[in-house]
Amino acid sequence: MRLELRGITKRFGSLVANDHIDLTIEPGEIHALLGENGAGKTTLMNVLYGLTQPDEGQIVVDGEPVRFRTPGHAIRAGIGMVHQHFMLIPVFTVAENVMLGVERTKRLGFLDRRRARRDVQELSKRYGLAVDPDAVVEDLPVGVQQRVEIIKALLRQANVLILDEPTAVLTPQEIEDLFGVMRSLRDSGRSIVFITHKLKEVKAVADRITVIRRGRVVTTTTPAATEAELASLMVGRPVMLRVDKGPSRPGAPVLEVRDLRVLDDRGQTVVDGVTFGVRAGEIVAVAGVQGNGQTELTEAIMGLRPVAGGSIRVNGREMVGRSPREVLMAGVGYVPEDRQHDGLIVDFSVADNLILDMYHRPPFASGPSLRPRVVQESARQRSEEFDVRLTSIDDPASALSGGNQQKLVLARELSRPIQLFVAAQPTRGVDVGSTEFLHRRIVQQRDSGVAVLIVSSELDEVISLADRIAVMYRGRITGIVPPDTPREQIGLLMAGAGATGDGAVPPGRRPAASEGSVAVGEAEPTRRPR
């Protein structure tokens, strides 16, 4: 099936998300759609999948113009989509999820579960997508859930499969497996649209690459292009791919975490006996696939989550049991994972957001009242210093782009005297330009003698920023390694190799993916009972 997009334009108010986009997907190719967050990739694919309607332009399937008003239309035309956030019902089994919407039934609408199960088994065998049709989806690791999504699309006879940022939640090994599946699908004559902002992956798997910037197609090229070329196409100017930083000069230990145990909201142990330290003037980055306890670790350090056991010391003072404010006032700066939810009050003005943790103290407060003039003045200074692009400091924070919001959070946290800086996913959803800036500021902090703890699920970011890398897997630290450790080895640590006790996956059980072959061993829950 040949799929063509002609002059697709989609506007959201004054924002032009897609500006006359032309794109052709040939049969049997892996076509990467490369662009920064917010470049308009997902909007384009939502148009293609019938989730939103274009304001202008045409979709052409095998020479025939079509209109997709609902996802149902797109599915019938042979388009399948694996969303960034999986569209699976957590409490349903794999077979139920796969058949939902195209149910196999007996008389009177009774479900034919046996046939549904067989459908799943057939597809999973044919394309090497190992999955148990009777497993309940919420018990499956993310990588397997993704396979379920792919099977779902294949069952609906998808000829064009759209994968929206499919690698964000996978370990390096799982990514290799996914690439194997993608290649075997391509070889069976289907086409794949691979949406991503990761240059390495594009080069590894794509046949053709279309780069999108600010809603427009910049060019279509081949994986022969270098990473630097692709990056500058994506951003629109030459980009530093490496963070410019000198060797670290670590001083006295600032953060000491010992045997830390933390439970999640459901009472499961998600941080399990973690011990590590961060010294003044060094950056320690916690690597790991999302959901392996990193979030809870930072929340525990900040006093946002009760600690079940162990100790957290900052400059020798015990922090366990203290309130977040006490932790902040002990000289800790914090960039939370979800800036819109935890980092900012998006309906408050920029100026107000800049004093969220200082409003009760001089110079911003005098007695019980705020001093608006001081607040305004300092807001102006800081947004300038941190290059926050805004029209007015009285605008709500929601009016800013993701990158500028993140700079705002950083501006607030770094304008207090701090000895420890904790940043979770500091550049998630942030454009490359802002990322450079944020990284530079973080390195500056280190050089000025602050202990820095970064949590990131982007391995590139971890490797380029860190002086030491702590890898987390299922709540444990599986290894603390220097940043020049080979990626493969870090990848193995991220998958649990080297962990003590259970949870260790012997390297032999995850064969490197060759064409169409997939590791079968990990069709088991990420969290087994301990």
Binding site: L51, T52, H85, L88, I89, L100, E103
Partner: protein, 435 residues
């Protein structure tokens, strides 16, 4: 819109508890059950056993009214029986505490102890006189009718992701419509249809505001309850009181003894000698269960209630599905309302449903959003109600308010984790907005 899936949550199965914690929970649970057994046993021994004169007998009637085969009354020597059964409960409780039981075994023990306790309670109350046990059973079922139907309605709503606090209002308008139509037209079947339709109409009101204008579903439900109470009170004063004879004196559905089944001793008179509404309950319980869990329709409904965006992406119409369930559930709740008038006493009275809709809601949660569970919960509430009634007649020295409190106490205990973790549908109460 907050419908995006939290991948972290998914990758961490709730079913797989960390073992030490699960064990701790089993231990506390077992201790609670053990303590409860001991406590109930003490009550059985002290006030029930020793509080009864030695040698006094209770006659428990098992005959019923329609049985062809005569079953003799069961004489129970109250004091020895209560002492013996109380001792059994205390010993069980004590034996239980040191060793943790599985959830299932724990529930069995708890159930057994409760049955023994209720048996002693009845014997004690009937000491020196006669109590119709079969009648009590039948009364329990009949009193459960509005609870069962209300709970089925609640299940249909919540499984599709709409919280229905308005069950009470639907029962009330159903009762009203049943009475007025049954009386004015004189056709009980039309009254039943009218009751169902009025429940559905009230449900549509909920749907219109909550699905279209995204009003908070809980608030809207409460508003509709107040509205239903207000409008039926007003119409009662203005219409039913002045025209009592023509508008508020319907006949009631006669009891139908199912041929064959009703002549089975004990079981027959309890289960198969009631009016059409009880049989409707049986049918609807089965139909709703099978439809929800074994058909395409049910799979789609549950998908909509768990994760509407996912359902939408595979071509399921979310809002239409919710409207469909609102109507179906409304019809069933309306039928439940008809019980209060044309299904039992005939004439409508102010606030005749008296909170049963809220108990039905509790039954939905207690029963884990499943018809079978809701049935059990409804029967428990119905039993407490029937028992309270019969104890009042016998003049037992126990305030009826205590027994009326029992089901709520049970609900609190249940919700506090005694029965086990129940999980509502993922998108329960959350409006669906397409971006």
């Amino acid at each position: 819109m907050s419908l995006s899936l939290d991948v972290r949550r998914l990758s961490r199965p709730g079913v797989l508890e960390s073992l030490s914690r699960a064990r701790a929970r089993v231990v506390t649970r077992t201790r609670v059950i053990g303590a409860l057994s001991v406590g109930l046993g003490v009550v059985m021994v002290l006030p029930f056993g020793l509080g009864t004169k030695a040698g006094e007998m209770a006659l428990l009637g098992l005959a019923g009214t329609t049985t062809a085969v005569h079953v003799p009354d069961m004489p129970v020597p109250v004091r020895p029986v209560c002492l013996a059964l109380g001792a059994v409960c205390i010993l069980t409780g004590l034996a239980l505490m040191p060793r943790p039981l599985s959830r299932k075994a724990g529930n069995r023990v708890l159930g057994g102890v409760l049955v023994l306790f209720v048996f002693c309670l009845i014997s004690w109350a009937a000491a020196g006189s006669h109590m119709d046990l079969v009648g009590l059973g039948n009364d329990t079922l009949v009193r459960s009718i509005p609870l069962i139907l209300g709970a089925l309605a609640g299940i249909l709503y919540e499984r599709s992701g709409v919280i229905n606090i308005a069950i009470e209002g639907q029962l009330l308008v159903g009762a009203f419509a049943g009475a007025i139509i049954g009386s004015a037209i004189g056709d009980l079947w039309l009254g039943l249809v009218g009751a169902a339709v009025s429940g559905a109409l009230l449900g549509l009101l909920l749907g219109y505001f909550c699905l279209r204008y995204l009003v908070d579903q809980v608030i809207m439900g409460v508003v509709l309850d107040v509205f239903a109470l207000g409008i039926t009170n007003y119409l009662y004063d203005r219409l039913l009181v002045p025209y009592q004879n023509s508008l508020n004196s319907p006949s009631v559905f006669p009891n139908i003894a199912v041929p064959g089944l009703s002549s089975i001793p004990i079981i027959g008179p309890i289960f198969f000698d009631a009016n059409i509404l009880l049989y409707l309950c049986y049918i609807l319980l089965i139909v709703v269960h099978v439809a929800l869990f074994h058909t395409r329709w049910g799979l789609r409904v549950r998908a909509v209630g768990e994760h509407p965006l996912a359902a939408d992406t595979v071509g399921i119409k979310v809002i239409a599905t919710r409207y469909g369930n609102i109507i179906l559930g409304g019809l069933i709740a309306g039928l439940g309302g008809a019980y209060f008038t044309i299904g039992s006493v005939g004439a409508f009275g102010k606030d005749i449903s008296s909170g049963d809709g809220f108990i039905a809601l509790a039954a939905v949660i207690f029963g884990g959003w499943r018809p079978a569970g809701a049935l059990l919960a409804a029967l428990l509430f119905g039993f407490a109600d029937a028992l309270q009634n019969i104890l009042g007649i016998l003049g037992a020295p126990i305030p009826s308010e205590f027994l009326l409190m029992a089901p709520y106490l049970a609900t609190i205990l249940a919700v506090a984790g005694l029965v086990g973790k129940v999980r509502p549908p993922g998108a329960d109460g959350k409006p669906y907005v397409k971006s």
